[in-house]
């Protein structure tokens, strides 16, 4: 079980980081979502993986599954969900304002230069 969980976390993290590095709004949002899934799984697993054990103290139980990481991960899920919603709205706003979904900081001058180059190219093609 440890192996499966570890591989899952690894694959999710790798895919998430790859998508974040695409620097386009939609892939970045997906990537962040995958990355937070991986994080949540990881936090969940830090209390040791256990099957069929009671989470709360009980005099008869032979062992316990740690309830704290479960509580932590619940908080983390709620927070990451809210943050994703905020991110979607901000990136939508940025897309509508800027007309591009690129995630990089450019100044007006840079944009103008890029536009000028683009115009030159289209003129050349025509």
């Amino acid at each position: 079980m440890e192996l499966i969980v570890a591989i899952t976390i690894g694959v999710l993290t790798a895919a998430g980081i790859y998508l974040i590095l695409r620097l386009r709004a939609f892939p970045v949002i997906l990537g962040l979502t995958l990355f937070t899934y991986a994080t949540n799984l990881f936090v969940f697993a830090t209390g040791r993986l256990a099957v069929g054990l009671p989470p709360v103290l009980n005099d008869e139980a032979a062992g316990y599954s740690d309830p704290l990481p479960q509580a932590l991960v619940l908080t983390a899920i709620v927070i990451s969900f809210g943050m994703t919603a905020v991110l979607v709205l901000i990136s939508l706003g940025a897309y509508l304002e800027a007309g591009s979904d690129k995630v990089e900081y450019t100044t007006d001058d840079d944009d103008m230069m890029a536009k000028a180059e683009q115009d030159e190219k289209t003129e050349g093609a025509a």
Partner: protein, 552 residues
């Protein structure tokens, strides 16, 4: 009595902010009055907290009266009290500026977000639990997301998007670090962590070291250190100026977290960590200082230039912290106060300049401004402060830091980088100042202006130019910050003695640990559990008042 005041810096804004957002949402005057009143109350509380910690006692507030490693605690020591006072003071000044210049009207919910921001920052300074620190970071971040894109606009949204993404990745890293820490130590209470980490033998320290370094990266994102500094110039330069001024304390939250975690928990005296933090922090800070200096020189825009100056100022603070000696931390704390005020002042002055210039923030000649002389004087003062020239506190602060770093073994490198970058910054700021304030009087600019006006008149009856001069109320916040900087300079003696005591408290974590983990007789009894818990909880409820009274 002390017991419940401790949580007031978090509770007061948490109560006022929703009222501002919902009850007063259509009445800007009431919003201003309410948030200003809340700020004043919080300053009073912060002063009270500062007095309460002046004798060196560490106050602990146990939420729900649960005993320490299990329940969440808030801990108030000198460092927390100092930073809360700084936050509330800065918050009030920024609020005044935003109200006087009308920034708060250009979008919705400015005041509510501002209060939530202050709440998150104060909470982060107070909390004694690492996971709670994460939660409070998220609160201050989500408020800051709203504030950075306040008033909207293309550039602002693009800068804001980058900032949000950067911080979301940072938050995930924070969780991974906390998970690692919990898996190795079994606790997230800072005082308990301090005990547990010190018990870990060197041979088994690998995971703790990973956690310590991950946490450092997370805090470095907040403090904008190389290689995760690149978001700062884009975000701060495009954020509304009063927000950027408030963010002067945001970078300090990162610095504070490193200061707290990497002295009490991962201090240089722990076998498991050793000098690991120092080895990574110092080069990162040095490179960031260099980037800041070069950025100031290369910026084509006033706000961008100020952002790079702030980057450099924060990095200087981190450099002082990276030595992890009591004297260096003492210098760092003095520089922290100065850096916060001077960075905020720089942004507020830049905002006044921008509101009066015809061609905005571009560093090119533009017609003379309505209050050219006054703004030039303010800019001159702010530039002197942030570059570290005498007579203001920047000079004392930098001298203090350089003196503290004399014995690190790298002093030649540190001194060279700091001094050369300072020189470059002075040149950059000087060039910007002369372009903005003096070039306006150049013959060709004046002639072009006269020609433009003549043309406009020829086309028809000229509209009178709008009067853009700032009111006295809009200038007042900048003057207040200037006065604060002068005060920090004049009272450098008493202030540095306070910082000395604060730093000593950080390097002697025994008080902190004992305050949190010992003396818990009055808290809830965890030894009985299971079915009788419900009854027991009720019993405790009646004793609660007495229990918390006796807590301290």
């Amino acid at each position: 009595m002390m017991a419940h005041w401790l949580i007031a810096p978090v509770v007061v804004p948490a109560l006022v902010a929703p009222m501002v957002a919902y009850v007063m949402r259509f009445d800007i005057v009431m919003q201003r009055a309410a948030s200003m009143a809340a700020s004043v109350v919080m300053i009073a509380i912060a002063i009270g907290l500062m007095v309460a910690t002046a004798d060196g006692t560490v106050h602990v507030y146990r939420l729900g009266d649960w005993p320490a490693p299990f329940g969440i605690v808030l801990v108030l020591d000198r460092l927390a009290a100092l930073l809360i006072l700084l936050t509330t003071l800065l918050g009030a000044v920024v609020l005044l500026h935003a109200s006087a210049t009308g920034w708060d009207r250009r979008g919705r919910h400015f005041h509510a977000l501002m209060l939530f921001q202050v709440m998150g920052i104060s909470g982060a300074f107070l909390t004694g639990d690492a996971f709670n620190l994460f939660v409070l970071f998220e609160i201050l971040l989500i408020a800051s997301y709203g504030l950075t894109i306040h008033a909207g606009g293309r550039e602002r949204l693009k800068g804001g998007l980058q900032y949000v993404i950067m911080n979301l990745v940072g938050s995930s890293l924070f969780l991974i670090a906390l998970g690692t820490l919990y898996a190795t130590t079994g606790t997230l209470n800072i005082a308990d962590l301090a005990v547990k980490v010190r018990e870990i033998p060197v041979g088994e320290a690998a995971l703790v070291r990973v956690a310590a370094m991950l946490l450092m990266i997370v805090f470095a994102v907040k403090a904008a250190l190389f290689p995760v500094q690149f978001w700062l110039p884009g975000t701060y330069a495009n954020a509304p100026a009063p927000v950027a001024a408030l963010f002067a304390i945001m970078t300090k939250v990162g610095a504070y977290a490193i200061l707290r975690m990497h002295t009490i928990v991962f201090g240089p005296d722990t076998d498991a960590i050793g000098s690991l933090s120092q080895d990574w922090l110092m080069p990162a800070a040095l490179i960031t200082i260099a980037i800041g200096g070069i950025g100031v020189m290369g910026a084509r825009n006033l706000m961008q230039m100020v952002s790079f100056a702030v980057l450099m100022s924060t990095a200087t603070l981190m450099l002082a912290i990276s030595a992890f000696t009591p004297y260096a931390i003492e210098a760092a704390l003095y520089y922290l106060v100065h850096s916060t005020f001077s960075a905020a002042l720089m942004f507020l002055v830049a905002d006044l300049v921008l509101s009066q210039r015809r061609n905005g923030g571009a560093l090119a000649a533009s017609p003379v401004m309505a209050q050219n002389g006054l703004l030039a004087a303010l800019f001159f003062g702010a530039a002197i402060a942030i570059a570290g020239m005498p007579p203001l506190s920047g000079f004392l602060g930098k001298l203090y830091v350089l003196d503290a770093l004399r014995d690190t073994g790298y002093s030649w490198l540190v001194w060279t980088v700091v001094l050369v970058s300072s020189l470059i910054t002075i040149v950059g700021l000087g060039r910007a100042g002369s372009t903005v304030f003096w070039k306006a009087n150049d013959a060709d600019v004046v002639a072009a202006e006269a020609r433009a006006r003549a043309e406009a008149e020829a086309n028809g009856p000229a509209e009178p130019l709008p009067d853009r001069s700032a009111s006295a109320l809009a200038i007042a916040p900048s003057m207040m910050l200037m006065a604060a900087l002068v005060a920090v300079t004049v009272f450098a003696g008493p202030l540095s003695r306070y910082m000395q005591a604060t730093s000593a408290q950080l390097f002697d974590p025994v008080d902190y640990i004992e305050a949190v983990l010992l003396n818990q007789d009055d808290t809830k009894d965890l030894s009985s559990h299971g079915d009788d818990y419900g009854e027991h909880g009720e019993d405790d409820g009646t004793e609660d008042g007495a229990a918390t009274e006796g807590d301290h």
